[in-house]
Symmetry: C2
Subunit: 471 residues, 2 copies
């Protein structure tokens, strides 16, 4: 964890932001999460909000911050001698609390009484256990303490959620250092992936090599690795195919370092080491879109505008290839881009790879004067805000040819005058391409995070694959 | 999954065993388990009981088996076109159900009505989500649908639990094949560990290399890897130390293959490649205990007796070293062994690495005429039963010098006439040793699982470490 003063300062800033509120802030750390039976758990991962304000990386901790008196209490149970035999000498709750500057501690089960009769401000729960616990502590229905979809959670404290978002959206220098560390692990993870892509190799074996890097150098993956020759399927987590020649391999993967900060990169490789002409055409458009974002973002520019600029450039490129037709501005306005890129341009990144996603996407990613589009693609944009120094965002344009979606639109007559559906038919076996970097908004511009940038220009990718000595 | 007939036959066998029961059997598959926010989940792992009877390796499935009519229904929801855009073409619920021989399907939410007014037989829940779901479906308190400790779950169906235990304790040949596959992955995982143990290496880097093997060849680890120079701490999952010279490194780790069967091995290595005389003395006792079990088990022998035979041999060896004194039989009867081996000799292994642990340890591991000891060590024995052909068990004796425990016993005067506490003082920095193999009980004896046995005899361990070219 960081030094004590960091957590003290963050909680003080939170109190300041909530100075007009009454009651008590409740924060819950995670408990272990069983994979098989109750004592065989997944690798321990603390709740991100808890980590931000208290840093204690142990299960079954909770805390209250009294908004009226300022009193802070940590609730957790000390280990018994029995525990110590099985788990070794363990620090006391009081000594852990002291590490984040909290003086008062109480048993975990004292939490219920501490909340009685108070107005309780809480953050929506992410895990099933904490949702149950919150609902039982606060006598609410479990569905009322979690976010469903993009909207805010019905009973969570909007004041608290907004205050924490304001803080966590702007990364501290020490956080940027950690994210950069995660990016450097991500670089090595992706390099292992690129070197692993040989015709005939089992995808799962490549994924295993990638995870070795993240587990050796950090906590593990920041999300389930996507490594697929079906880039058009966004949430493809199966890795049971052999690498075939002539395909595009989308690798979307990130690392979490031991301080639990995330990285998130995507590269797309020609499986034989050389792009076909058709692959290179589409790849080049996506690459230019990725570069365009880097060249336009700075404080004050909204990421919604960056998404729209990408849409315009992408549609211009697809028009040159004869896949769409008409005026680019009209196509952008109609949302034609969503047929090819049905996702948003990027998201915030920090302790969560989609930072604070469970706080309610609209609260996290939209300024008060912005509202979410209903168009496919733009409507999925997680981060639309005007950028500020200290924001860390992903820049991840992509072009996909999704047969089920194209068929549906064609059948419905959607964009009939703007999309050349018969030309698209030839792309049904194309797959998809996505290219993603992690960006830090600086005082006067932007910086790509990570010591080195993964090869991305088409020639550089081919050169790197050649140097990998595989082709 | 296995072919359809396997699941049909298992469910038929279950119905037969429960032919005197009324009502309906309810089985719940798992749902995804969030690591960070709700959409960032840990690697998907299906519930083991569900896998055994239905095999469908997808989230959010449930089933009922009517004990009166024999009707089987699978409850799950088909994917929408939206899902298909994000997840690719997905098989229908009906086609998945057909793969395990179930004809009738219904939406997931139809489950509640299907259970109304029926006597419901269920297995205790392992995960938080399923505990909540069971408690809501059956209007029970969440604490009543899970096991706490070693005893049976208060409201789970003892008939169902006992019937399933009877089936799963005896592995089918196809299961043994799968376990053996997991053992072979485990062999390569442990070989990577042994090769990684070099003075100055970070433990976490070795663990990363081990996990690369399990993720490349199988589902992943069958439980959180233990790799520690503090073998006396049983549940040590931190890997933040550098390998130091003169230590003993306990590596307790296993793999789960893609069919979700487990392996579980332990080896203990001298970090410099050579045992000291003192290390070799203790190591040899543990090694002999491991071999002794292999040489004595066969159908009809109780594993409780194997544990006691190990206790006797271990205490004899420790007596020769001057660490305990008196008659071995008396020491065994008093439970002196628990001071050095405060755990049981082994456990059942299958789809869970501690097979069916959440069913209630006593139900799983004890014959009706056996009861659990209250002694430290023997009291932790998970598998005490008389062995039967097809049982798969671990053989994992260990000797540990746990300062906190020794101090406590000495202070209390426990075993004052049998333990040479002053001689033990010199072992406070020793650590621990555990040596574990996976055994299959055959018709007339026993077979170690896995194509090759990891080097275990002290000379073989030193030779292997030499050949690893590290020393």
């Amino acid at each position: 964890m960081f030094e004590k003063e960091v957590y003290v300062a963050r909680r003080r800033a939170l109190l300041q932001k909530m100075k007009d509120c009454k009651g008590v802030v409740l924060m819950l750390g995670n408990v272990d999460s069983p994979a098989q039976y109750r004592d065989n758990c997944y690798k321990w991962r603390q709740d991100s909000t808890w980590l931000y304000f208290f840093g204690i990386d142990e299960p079954r901790f909770a805390a209250t911050i009294d908004l009226e008196s300022g009193e802070e209490v940590i609730y957790a149970d000390d280990f018994s001698l029995d525990d110590i035999i099985w788990m070794g000498p363990m620090p006391s709750v009081a000594s852990l609390a002291a590490k984040c500057g909290v003086e008062k501690v109480a048993p975990y089960d004292a939490l219920k009484d501490a909340l009685k009769g108070r107005q309780v401000h809480f953050i929506p729960a992410s895990r099933h256990y904490n949702a149950s616990l919150l609902s039982s502590l606060l006598s609410l229905d479990p569905s009322e303490v979690v976010c469903r979809g993009k909207k805010a959670c019905p009973k969570a404290s909007e004041e608290l959620v907004k205050a924490v978002i304001e803080m966590r959206l702007v990364k501290e220098p020490r956080e940027i250092e950690q994210i950069e560390h995660a990016c450097n692990i991500g670089y090595r993870m992706h390099t292992a992936a690129r070197k692993g892509i040989r015709i005939g190799e089992l995808e799962q074996r490549i994924v295993g090599q990638m995870e070795a890097v993240t587990l050796s150098e950090g906590w593990g993956v920041s999300f389930s690795t996507i490594l697929t020759q079906h880039g058009e399927i966004f949430h493809c987590h199966s890795h049971d195919c052999l690498v075939e020649s002539g395909k595009l391999m989308v690798v979307d993967a990130g690392a979490e370092n031991n301080m639990h900060y995330a990285s998130d990169f995507t590269r797309t490789y020609p499986t034989g080491g050389k792009f076909t002409a058709r692959q290179r055409d589409i790849y080049t458009i996506v690459y230019e879109c990725n570069e365009l974002v880097y060249n336009m973002v700075r404080p004050g520019v909204s990421y919604r505008d960056a998404h729209l600029a990408v849409a315009a450039h992408m549609l211009g490129g697809l028009k040159d290839l004869g896949l769409v037709k008409g005026k680019v501005d009209d196509m952008v306005a109609e949302g034609v881009c969503g047929l090819f890129m049905p996702h948003g341009l990027g998201h915030n990144m920090g302790l969560d790879v989609h930072d604070m996603e469970d706080y309610g996407e609209d609260l996290v990613g939209y300024d008060p004067d912005q509202s979410r589009s209903s168009q496919l693609g733009l409507g999925s944009l997680r981060m639309a805000r005007r950028l500020r120094e200290g924001n860390v965002i992903t820049d991840e344009p992509g072009i996909y040819f999704i047969p089920a979606l194209i068929d549906q639109y064609r059948r419905q007559g959607t964009f009939a005058d703007m999309v050349n559906y018969s030309a698209l038919e030839k792309y049904y076996d194309f797959g998809g391409i996505r290219l993603e970097d992690d960006l830090l908004i600086t005082a006067d511009g932007v910086r790509r995070l990570g010591q080195k940038r993964l090869p991305i220009a088409p020639d550089d990718v081919e050169q790197a694959m050649k140097e990998d000595n595989l082709y």
